[in-house]
């Protein structure tokens, strides 16, 4: 019996030494990539026809003060407190929007539908939403459109024809560029790095990695991609995997990219506990709260995500623009206050812009 197990393991180790010669797997998917230009010039927008919905018999709201309700996935958490602040900031700045946030106390689609339904009945001019479920929320949003209400989504989309516009916080190639740029700034354009991801089949992570690979090959051809390891959504496993990478590569590895908000702080902790801060850079996707200890200790310099305050702010400006009739189907950009001109992508989405990089200077302004 023991012999069987042992020989199986032995066979495995032999087969692995054979596969040693193969190029290491990066963990990206096989879908086509669309890397951004190295200097960040905006890519030519592929013309996708407008696929959003339209309100029925909407009254002329141009320039008039409008009442708007913002229905996030849930209220009381830092992330949506931040989007809510952005909406309030924008409303105060414009002076022609009466905005309030009212969301479910837990991320529950049924509660969210009930809330929106109540606001349709009581009568508002505009609805902002972040959907708990893209499909389930669509009927109630269509009902709002049918009642002549302007509907704009942010953070989490519905079906396109159930709202007018959706403010997209980040595209895959944008995140990829920010990650690799931040890494290159820290480890140099010829540094070697490894990645800790969730699993090779997690769609978002695989997409980001594929885009990072394409962007790095294009813009930093001398960077060395050591390997990608899986760590599920498991913080201790992420910590162990990051440790193993440090143990394996020693001085050769100059940086670790964390692909999840679980992996990034765990990798930062591994680097901290191994006494490698300053030798091994950690750059990753994560929420600011989870990264504050590592940014405060200077072990981590860049945390990539988007700015939820800006996201709410942009959503409010987009809603104002549709109510005014200045943002119509077929438009290629929209003016969003201090954020400037935002690009229209994918037919009826508005791209928030380049992702936000949290650093020591700004991370304490956020609480999510």
């Amino acid at each position: 019996m023991g012999r069987i197990v042992l020989s199986a393991i032995l066979a495995l180790s032999f087969s692995t030494s054979l596969s040693h010669a193969q190029s290491s797997w990066t963990g990206g998917d096989d879908l086509p990539t669309n890397p951004l230009a190295c200097d960040g010039t905006a890519a030519a927008a592929a013309s996708v026809p407008y696929d959003g919905g339209q309100p029925t018999n909407a009254p002329d709201r141009n320039g008039k003060t409008i009442t708007v309700v913002d229905v996030p996935k849930l209220v009381g958490i830092g992330y949506f407190n931040a989007t809510s602040k952005g909406i309030a900031d924008a409303a105060a700045e414009m002076g022609t929007m009466d905005a309030k946030t009212d969301g479910p106390s837990r991320a529950n689609i049924d509660d969210q539908i009930t809330l929106i339904d109540n606001y349709i009945t009581s009568g508002v001019d505009g609805i902002l939403f972040a959907a708990n479920d893209p499909v389930a929320i669509s009927p109630v949003l269509k009902k709002a459109l049918a009642a002549g209400i302007n509907v704009v989504g942010y953070d989490a989309n519905s079906e396109p024809d159930a709202r007018q516009w959706f403010v997209n916080q980040a595209e895959f190639n944008g995140i990829a560029k920010s990650m690799i740029d931040a890494l290159a700034a820290e480890i140099g354009e010829d540094g070697a790095f490894a990645i800790v991801t969730s699993t090779f089949t997690t769609p978002n992570q695989a997409r980001w990695i594929a885009e990072m690979e394409a962007y790095q090959a294009e813009c930093y051809p001398n960077m060395k991609w050591l390997e990608t390891v899986e760590a599920q959504e498991d913080n201790i496993l992420s910590f162990n995997q990051a440790n193993t990478l440090i143990n394996k590569y020693g001085d050769e590895m100059k940086g670790i990219l964390g692909m999840t908000s679980v992996a990034t702080p765990a990798a930062a902790d591994a680097v901290t506990q191994a006494g490698q801060c300053g030798n091994v850079a950690v750059v990753g996707l994560a929420t600011p709260n989870a990264m504050k200890p590592y940014v405060a200790s200077d072990c981590v310099k860049s945390v990539v995500l988007w700015n939820p305050v800006d996201l709410g702010y942009a959503a409010a400006y987009v809603l104002r623009a549709v109510a005014d009739g200045t943002l119509e189907p077929g438009a290629t950009s929209v003016e969003a206050g201090k954020l400037g001109e935002l690009q229209v992508i994918n037919g009826s989405e508005i791209l928030l812009g380049a992702p936000f990089v949290f650093t020591k200077d700004n991370i304490n302004d956020f609480d999510f």
């Binding site: 019996m1 023991g2 069987i4 197990v5 042992l6 199986a8 393991i9 032995l10 495995l12 180790s13 692995t16 030494s17 596969s19 040693h20 290491s24 797997w25 849930l74 009381g76 958490i77 830092g78 837990r106 090779f200 390997e227 390891v229 899986e230 599920q232 959504e233 498991d234 913080n235 201790i236 496993l237 910590f239 162990n240 995997q241 440790n243 193993t244 990478l245 440090i246 143990n247 394996k248 020693g250 679980v262 702080p265 765990a266 902790d269 901290t272 506990q273 191994a274 709260n289 989870a290 504050k292 200890p293 590592y294």
Partner: protein, 333 residues
């Protein structure tokens, strides 16, 4: 009904059955030897391919990386030996870690933050034990229910936010005693203590008796229900200890637990030689199995193999172990 209680044999001192030491060791602790052998073999092969595998830091990563799983597996081994199972322990560890962290950041003394998870773990599992022993509800049903309650409660209470700003003194899993990482000390001391207690104390041996043959256990005067409740409570204490290691390894505590943590813990016990049918096995085996998992995981990185293999290898090991268990039982029958 014959009262053939399936206890692990204690060797007659006069050597009535004279056998070689190795053969005796293998007869009593076959699965433990297999797992240990696999660990040694992996070390030899991988070190041959990449000598950095055995640098001190990597040895520490391997031996202490899965310590919290090993600690939880001790309690799980006891529960499985009685012929029961607990699929809620992963969620329980998440809840207990959150309790410890919340107490620590709320200004309670560190000793209190580190004791509370053990006591709460015992309390929760005492309730489970009572339902199983006196309510006569199968443990899989009770613990499935507990799993939903604990997991839902955890997300409901924390709202998915993480605990940060933990006081440095609270982070005991990051500390070292005589340059040995604390998780490693926890794992070794608890494993050895539990092993000796189960082998030589009357209570410990009754755990095997209950799982091996409950009717016979009753016939020999073992208070089966009471013992079952106690075993669940002890399992809760180990879950509390595991939660302490889990909560203090990093500077932030997640409000979620690793997916399938309970499955990893159960797998470790089974691969370590604890029969899923109850009655046999040791906690040495379950601890060795967690070390084997860590060794395989690290080895795959060192020899550049996709982590997909980890699951495949562990799957193979489970099948092989269960098969061996069946064969051994058939051989004895």
């Amino acid at each position: 009904m014959t009262a053939a209680v399936d206890l692990p044999p204690i060797r007659p001192r006069n050597g009535a059955r004279r056998q070689g030491f190795l053969r005796r060791l293998f007869a009593d602790y076959g699965q433990e030897c297999v797992v240990l052998g696999a660990i040694v073999l992996l070390f030899v092969v991988v070190t041959f391919i990449n000598p950095r595998f055995v640098n001190t830091n990597n040895l520490i990563t391997i031996f202490s990386g899965n310590a919290y799983i090993a600690v939880a597996a001790i309690g799980m081994a006891m529960v499985i030996m009685t012929g029961n199972i607990d699929v809620s322990v992963g969620a329980l560890i998440g809840v207990l870690a959150t309790i410890a962290g919340t107490l620590a950041v709320s200004g309670y003394p560190i000793w209190f933050a580190l004791t509370a998870p053990i006591l709460v773990g015992m309390a929760v599992n005492t309730v489970i034990g009572v339902l199983v022993a006196y309510g006569r509800i199968p443990s899989i049903v009770v613990t499935l229910g507990a799993l939903s309650i604990l997991r839902g409660g955890l997300i409901g209470v924390t709202g998915g936010t993480w605990i940060t700003d933990l006081p440095p003194d609270f982070l005991i899993a990051q500390k070292r005693l005589f340059s040995i990482p604390v998780p490693l000390i926890f794992m070794i001391v608890l494993t050895v203590a539990a092993f000796l207690w189960m082998r030589y104390s009357a209570f410990g041996r009754s755990i095997y008796a209950i799982g091996g043959n409950p009717e016979a256990a009753v016939a020999t005067g073992i208070p089966v229900e009471r013992r079952l409740v106690s075993v669940f409570a002890i399992h809760g204490a180990f879950a509390g200890l595991a939660a302490i290691l889990f909560a203090t390894q990093l500077q932030v505590i997640q409000s979620t637990v690793p997916p399938n943590l309970e499955l990893t813990i159960i797998t470790a016990t089974v691969i370590g030689g604890v029969s899923i049918l109850g009655g046999t096995g040791t906690v040495i085996g379950s601890t060795l199995a967690t070390i084997l998992f860590a060794t395989i995981g690290s080895a795959l990185i060192f020899i550049n193999v996709s982590a997909y293999w980890l699951r495949a290898v562990i799957g193979l090991l489970i099948l092989a172990t269960v098969l061996a268990d069946m064969l051994r039982r058939r051989g004895r029958a």
